[in-house]
Symmetry: C2
DNA sequence: TCGCGTGGGTTGGAAAAACAAACCCTCGCC
DNA sequence: GGCGAGGGTTTGTTTTTCCAACCCACGCGA
């Protein structure tokens, strides 16, 4: 996924250049769940083996995963998330919450996450400064680079 | 991007089936910023026009965008986010924050977002129940459907 | 010792997507 | 009457994806 052409310098585009290819985020999901082996990933994600191999190389190169042998003779490898990879988990959680809300009946959630506070996790993106939930209407963009257009009201 | 084969019922996969194709999230970014016209999108995203046209159709069909004429004679259209689309913006913001942190020197952020509280937005994913920041080590997955493997420690 | 199964991939060829450039149509304006 | 903007579609080429088959090292059981 080329960042090479995005005319807008943007960390969203940069992030997608790393994790935006098909299956990459599902790999992260699996690894965060603790499934670290090639076959488990193939089975749980449903990706073709060659594509998965490509994605894994990419994610390792990008520093989101590590590959290490969990046995020699025969050599077998496992993939684990680095801190950068783990830091994506909250993003995945909020994406999951969006999917639960907008793509499902909300009562057939295929996975419930428990938070250490004892409650079911309902992820909310908040502003670190004031603690309020982040909503579109409270945001104002300030591009730091030229070549941008930012405009008025954006809702339908 | 097929959800058709993902063997795991999962809202992350479902969400990616809708917005996981190349450029889709960048379209959302632009629309949330207020850039609603085909050309602006082409220029700001850097996508081929035909691909963009395909993405826009998909996003409209999925209910994340609306297409409506902003003038007749000649007919011209604009794309705006629905509530479902706007609800993805916090996810984009946390993805952007991840990119800022892990992909950049953190001091050359290409865009700063201002929150209505007056501070610069630093998005944090929190647990709605307890208000704490969501971290990997505080989460436990509870699959609601069969065919899952979930395992022990997941960090590198 | 022979064959079988498992884990972790690689290879080859066909099908689907992305890409770039050119094209089209409707109009407003000079 | 020609030019340019806006919003796409068409055409042909280049990449990716996909699938199935294959490979290799080993452990095991008969």
């Amino acid at each position: 996924m080329a960042a090479t052409k995005d005319p807008r310098p943007c960390s969203i585009a940069d992030a997608l250049a790393v994790v935006g290819e098909k299956y990459s985020l599902l790999v992260l999901r699996e690894v965060c769940l603790g499934n670290s082996r090639f076959d488990q990933l193939v089975r749980n994600i449903g990706a073709p083996r060659d594509v998965l191999a490509t994605r894994l190389r990419r994610l390792v190169d990008a520093g989101l995963l590590t590959k290490r042998a969990y046995q020699d003779r025969p050599q077998r490898f496992e993939y684990r998330a680095t801190q950068a990879g783990l830091d994506l988990e909250p993003v995945l959680m909020s994406l999951m919450a969006w999917g639960d809300r907008h793509l499902r009946g909300d009562d057939d959630r295929p996975m419930v996450i428990e938070h250490s506070c004892g409650n079911e996790l309902l992820p909310v993106v908040t502003c670190a400064a004031c603690g309020a939930e982040v909503r579109h209407e409270d945001l104002t963009a300030h591009p730091q680079a030229p070549g941008w257009t930012v405009k008025g009201p954006t809702a339908a």
